[in-house]
């Protein structure tokens, strides 16, 4: 088996298992209050981390590039309560525009 196939199959199997673990093991059991209160905060914590890394991380370094500018423009759209599609477009067009002129 080639290295690529090994990686593909192992990563695929691992990902399937990781995704299924919670739904299978926890099932419909209700989690204790403390646990669910913590898990409720997973969304803001994780979303903020994704915003930060996807806008400012490049491999293992922090960078300020067109993505950051796009995010800033998108943030303005969010503050103006623009629909999601508009937010995405504003961010993408800003980044694309800056790349085009740089």
């Amino acid at each position: 088996m080639t290295a690529a196939w090994t990686a593909v199959l192992v990563v695929g199997a691992a990902t399937i298992a990781i995704k299924a673990a919670g739904p299978i093991l926890a099932g419909e059991r209700q989690l204790p209050t403390g646990v669910s209160r913590v898990l409720d905060l997973l969304a803001p914590a994780l979303l903020a981390a994704l915003v930060a890394t996807q806008a400012f991380a490049s491999d293992e370094s922090l960078v300020l590039d067109e993505r950051g500018a796009g995010l800033l423009a998108g943030a303005v759209a969010v503050l103006l309560k623009a629909p999601l599609l508009v937010v995405i477009l504003v961010a993408a067009v800003t980044a694309a525009g800056l790349r085009a002129i740089s």
Binding site: A7, R37, V38, D40, L47, A48, Q54, A55, V78
Partner: protein, 298 residues
């Protein structure tokens, strides 16, 4: 993909589906008395809800297809065969991990390094799956299959105040799955004749998306604290840890939920220790923290 797909969004669940429902034929049916045709009578609610997921994720699909295509292109360039690329998109279905494998193997890294990087990146699906566990139904096999539709975007889109809407998650996840795999196939077939999605600014779309999904969640002090802490942890660790670790470590920010909820009446637990997880078994489902206004149900 460089992003994954998340959404939580009240902005979606509130604005997109609702407005969509108001204008769509199916939804007007839902508001008019008894629907004439039987199919819509029996499946009205589920259908509108799966559809809500599909609609909510629609704005993302072009970017998802484009990144799927770029995965297909880059995977070829890195020596991962066409079939292996397609299999990877079908099984792993997580852009960031797939790009990580491509970049490690493409740079001449070992198979083990590629696997570790990808598994680290996908480790976040452990806590995410746990948080959403109670939306999945049926036996282990069905849960295993449905859980595969869990990706950042479907997870976030279906999250409403810590509860997950099953149909929104599955509808959004299925659409994302189709888009991602179709994109991969396009990329494998087209090779590098395709434009780089970055030229179109699509890589900036994902952080903006996640921000739009985050914004409506920031209504309590604890969630604001969790968000800032999560971002801070992720940024602080980016330069010093392998990719994937910063985001996983950021999940620790949700431990701020262990601080005593503000909404507990002063007299109720006068002596309770501030930092204690509040083991009141009586109110399991009652989230003391939810002093938030009840959401108008859609």
């Amino acid at each position: 993909m460089r992003a994954v797909f998340l959404h939580t969004a009240r902005s979606l669940l509130a604005s997109v589906p609702e407005s969509a429902l108001r204008t769509s034929p199916a939804a007007s049916e839902a508001h008019t008395p008894p629907p004439a045709d039987e199919r819509s009578a029996t499946s009205r609610t589920p259908a509108s809800s799966y559809r809500a997921g599909v609609r909510a994720v629609l704005p993302l699909i072009p970017a998802v297809v484009a990144f799927g295509a770029s995965f297909g292109v880059l995977a070829q360039a890195a020596g991962i065969g066409g079939v292996a690329s397609l299999v990877m998109s079908a099984t792993t279905f997580a852009g960031s991990a797939q790009f990580a494998v491509v970049s490690v193997l493409g740079a001449g890294g070992t198979t083990a390094a590629a696997i570790v990087a990808a598994v680290l990146l996908n480790a976040r699906y452990g806590p995410m799956g746990l948080a959403a566990a109670d939306v999945f139904k049926g036996g282990p096999l069905r849960r295993l299959l449905e859980a595969q539709l869990l990706v950042d975007e479907s997870w976030a889109l279906s999250n409403r105040d810590g509860r997950f809407d099953r149909r929104v998650m599955l509808g959004a996840g299925a659409f994302l799955y189709v888009g991602w795999n179709a994109g991969t196939a396009i990329g494998v077939a087209a090779g590098d004749s395709l434009a780089d999605p970055a030229t179109l600014g699509l890589d900036a779309a994902f952080p903006a998306l996640f921000l739009a999904l985050l914004a409506p969640l920031l209504r309590s002090r604890t969630s604001v604290a969790a968000a800032f802490l999560g971002a801070a942890i992720a940024l602080a660790l980016t330069p010093i840890t392998p990719a994937g670790v910063p985001v996983i470590a950021a999940t620790a920010a949700c431990l701020v939920g262990l601080t005593r909820p503000r909404s507990v009446p002063a007299g109720a637990q006068a002596g309770a220790d501030a930092g204690r997880p509040q083991p009141d078994a009586a109110g399991r489902r009652t989230h003391p923290r939810d002093a938030r206004p009840q959401e108008a149900s859609t």
